[in-house]
Chain length 188, copies 2
């Protein structure tokens, strides 16, 4: 029996990604976002939705660039902090001891300790309401070589990312491999 | 040491959501999408990116409505099939035996067997390239009462959704609870 919960931004699961940007003085900032996802294959692109009140919003509007660093569970405490503290009042890299590295292709910093990083050039913004949607073209994907599988792609379990559950405000890990996609064409 | 993998739509993890729509003849269709995410809190909204070639693309352009049904692992084979077969040539509900139910608030069907459903009204489209981004305002969230936790929200482990890994084309389950968000404000 389905129960109506009303009009809410409530659906599982959401990724936990850390968005890197520089401010007007060239200081690196990073914030955690979960309202995000891949949005195009050609050009490769990702969305991230940000409130205007965030420091990152102004940074990206100005530099037209950002990075996405995927935090592993090992850094869950740091990633959670990145979603609470504001770059307006604190240097989050300095506070946590994590290392900002300038991206090669865009004017934005990524988190060196996080094993998977996207370098993104802002190509669209869309005003939705409380959040503005940023669409970034992915100019490069960088991955720590020790999490690469034999096929040359990142191993999900070695990356060990985690998920956000909307409204509940909790984090979950990623579970085991449960199947290969695009295999059931003739199942039915 | 970070290795550059080039410009790809490659980042983990992505959700696996099934998008329900009606065609011009009122026949229900459903397709699986992973290029998707929450994009706004007020109004609550989700994005899903679709290729123009999909049957769903034309349906949503015409009806301005869609649903998001979250498949549990129990239905991984059906959800995978929904991402391969096309509503142009087959009735995917009929083929799988799953049940289309007309949403209460929008002109689109959801998958009754899937425990979490969003009813969405199309509010924006954005051409990005191969994919078009659809932004849907969430008018209602419906959840099977047997997966609700004591706090009235869906229990992630009872929902038992799964994830897509880009490029690898594999599915992973969702893992255990690993922490509460917004708790580390004073950690650093």
């Amino acid at each position: 029996m389905k129960k109506s919960l009303g009009a809410k931004a409530l659906v599982y699961p959401s990724p936990v990604w850390c968005i890197g940007s520089y401010d007007a003085d060239g200081r690196p900032n990073v914030m955690t976002a979960a309202w995000a996802g891949i949005c195009c294959s050609k050009p490769p692109a990702v969305t991230v939705a940000l409130r205007k009140a965030t420091y990152t919003y102004g940074n990206i509007m100005s530099t037209k660039a950002y990075t996405v660093s995927v935090p592993p569970q090992k850094y869950i405490r740091e990633a959670d902090y990145f979603g609470i503290a504001s770059g307006k009042t604190v240097d989050k890299f300095e506070a946590t001891g994590l290392t900002p590295v300038k991206a090669a292709k865009v004017n934005a910093p990524y988190v060196d300790e996080f094993p998977m990083v996207l370098e993104c050039r802002l190509i669209h913004t869309l005003e939705i309401g409380l959040h503005t949607l940023f669409v970034g073209e992915i100019l490069d994907v960088k991955v720590d070589d020790d999490i690469l599988a034999e096929n040359g792609l990142p191993d999900m379990m070695k990356l060990d990312p985690f998920l956000y559950t909307a409204e509940n405000r909790t984090y979950h890990g990623v579970g085991d491999y449960v199947g290969k996609a695009y295999t059931n064409a003739k199942s039915f």
